[in-house]
């Protein structure tokens, strides 16, 4: 038998060393278990990158290497920090600050993932389901007030970038460098990378009524582009991570 702890001599040094080992060893194990708290309490419900498998499996499968982050052309992906518990080093997206707009076309993050935490079976952006956009602040929506929009969508200082296919098919540019002049605000629909994921519906039968309301359809991937581009403060439309569409 190997004696892992203590020796046969009842030496007090030896006993102290044993106690110290047990105590500090337990302290280390306890520290590692602190990561449970944020996960179980769901302190932060993160929007995960395209293709992320179900949350608890995602946290397990992710090897926390950040390769997905490295290939993202719009730098939408960030890594979780200590307050995320076992989400430390795990990728997420803060869509209001920088959404995924599928600039890469081919789901580069999924291709980069070495463990399949981002599901490799997805091959086109239309298959992605990260969450669901919702009109969470309808009262702030400009379209619903019949209003237009002029200027850069998020102000002149907003650092977020977006690929405008009509300007450069291959390169995203700052949203601040692309001012709009819209008679009726439809930015969420206009910049949505998925065709038909949001549509503008008139709010009445009266043709002179300019009020429109954005309606999210089953095609929404939850990428968060609408949340990023929405000029209202706070965003009228937001993405609920991992929400599933129901008719």
């Amino acid at each position: 038998m190997i004696k892992l702890f203590g020796s046969s001599s009842p030496d007090s040094d030896e006993r102290r060393r044993f106690l110290r080992s047990a105590l500090l060893g337990s302290a280390i194990a306890a520290a590692s278990l602190l990561g449970f708290l944020p996960v179980v309490k769901r302190w932060s419900q993160r929007l995960r990158p395209p293709g992320a498998i179900v949350e608890h499996e995602f946290l397990a499968a992710c090897i926390k290497c950040g390769q997905c982050l490295q290939v993202c052309p719009v730098k939408a992906i960030r890594l979780g920090d200590a307050p995320d518990g076992y989400g430390l080093g795990v990728p997420y997206i803060e869509p209001r600050e920088q959404a995924c707009d599928f600039s890469c076309d081919a789901l580069q993050c999924i291709l980069a993932c070495p463990t399949g935490a981002l599901n490799h079976t997805l091959s086109v952006k239309e298959q992605v389901r990260m969450g669901l956009a919702r009109l969470s602040n309808p009262e702030s929506c400009l379209a619903r007030q019949g209003k237009g929009f002029k200027g850069p969508a998020r102000g002149a200082d907003f650092p977020g970038i977006h690929r405008y296919a009509e300007i450069d098919r291959w390169k995203a540019i700052p949203i601040a460098d692309h001012p709009y002049d819209l008679e009726s605000c439809d930015l969420c629909v206009r910049e949505c990378p998925i065709k038909g994921a949001i549509v503008m519906k008139p709010m009445s039968d009266d043709p002179s009524d300019r009020r429109r309301t954005p309606e999210v359809t089953a095609d929404c991937t939850g990428c968060g582009m609408c949340e990023m581009i929405c000029p209202a403060e706070a965003s009228a439309i937001t993405v609920e991570p991992r929400a599933v569409w129901r008719a």
Partner: protein, 323 residues
């Protein structure tokens, strides 16, 4: 074989013991070393060496270059897009080939409960690489925490010399117990629990992706190492070191011991992070006249540097025969 098993047991936490039998060569050497004349000669040589006080940091300097270079490659691959090793030490692509840290991959597979094919590829490459280069040589030649801990250790030794701090050793079996605990936690909870506190992953990601609050934890560990327990993390806790230790048990790259040259003064054990692997340098502890240093050795080369008689040296098994 017996020595290999003994080396494994010592790695798991067993205290090295004096062998009850020696090989005839060792027996003869011991007898020769125990004569009064030989003792006198050794005393004289040790005194001469102490007076000469040569400092040699050959291996350490190369090691530091290696640690900095490897970690810098990770950083620059992303920051200036040279794309040599993309990712972090936990998992990466080396010019496109998957690499996965053995311990991280193990934690992922235990928690996720799937055999991930890319991870198998990645771990095979890494397994082969570190088998070739000596297992725990990962610790001494790549791990960024090792470098920080070395600096903390120097600080600890300086403060200890002035009597300001005292080393509080732990039982080395602590690491074995924690290894099992972390493996079980991954299986039971379904989370990669150890990664939450792994200073290797935290540092590697912080270098490449920027500041993280988790660095405070790394700082805390370093403070413990300075003021309370010398090389606390690497010696008594880190399961990564243990994983690589197992790999290195069969590695061709070894530090080897030549009893004939040894003065048994113990300078090597004083600088070593894992001095139990050098137990044979104590008079009467070497079973054979020539021995390999055990699995837990990080191939850091500090003992090689400090040894005045070159009784300890690096060797690539099989290579000397080939040449």
């Amino acid at each position: 074989m017996k020595m290999l098993i003994e080396g494994f047991m010592v790695m798991l936490g067993k205290a090295p013991v004096r062998p009850d039998r020696y090989t005839p060569e060792a027996e003869a050497l011991l007898a020769a070393k125990r004569t009064p004349e030989a003792r006198e000669a050794r005393k004289r040589m040790i005194a001469e060496e102490k007076a000469a006080k040569h400092k040699n940091h050959f291996w350490r300097n190369w090691r530091w270059v290696s640690i900095i270079l490897v970690n810098l490659l990770f950083v620059l691959s992303y920051r200036i897009d040279i794309q040599v090793v993309e990712g972090a030490l936990t998992g990466s692509r080396f010019v496109g080939f998957h690499m996965a840290d053995l311990n991280s991959a193990l934690q992922v597979m235990l928690a996720y409960k799937h055999v991930v094919i890319n991870l198998v590829i990645g771990t095979s490459t890494v397994l082969f690489l570190w088998w070739l280069f000596g297992g725990r040589s990962f610790c001494a030649w790549v791990c960024p925490y090792h470098l920080l801990a070395e600096i903390a250790e120097q600080l600890h030794l300086k403060l200890a010399a002035r009597g300001l701090v005292k080393d509080h050793p732990l039982h080395r079996g602590t690491r074995t117990v924690l290894y099992v605990v972390f493996a079980l936690l991954a299986v039971i909870t379904g989370y990669t629990v150890f990664e939450f506190i792994s200073p290797v992953g935290i540092l590697s990601r912080a270098f490449t992706y920027g500041f993280s609050l988790a660095l405070l934890w790394v700082g805390f560990l370093l403070v413990i190492e300075v003021i309370y327990s010398r090389r606390f993390w690497c010696r008594y806790i880190c399961p990564i070191g243990m994983t690589y230790g197992v790999v290195g048990a069969f590695s061709p790259v070894k530090v080897t011991y030549d009893m004939e040259k040894c003065l048994h003064e113990g300078e090597c054990r004083k600088v070593c992070m894992v001095p139990h692997v050098l137990s044979m340098t104590r008079m009467g502890y070497a079973e054979d006249a020539k021995m390999d240093i055990g699995a837990d050795c990080t191939r850091c080369g500090m003992c090689v540097e400090v040894c005045p008689t070159k009784a300890l040296k690096f060797e690539v098994k099989g290579l000397s025969k080939l040449l």
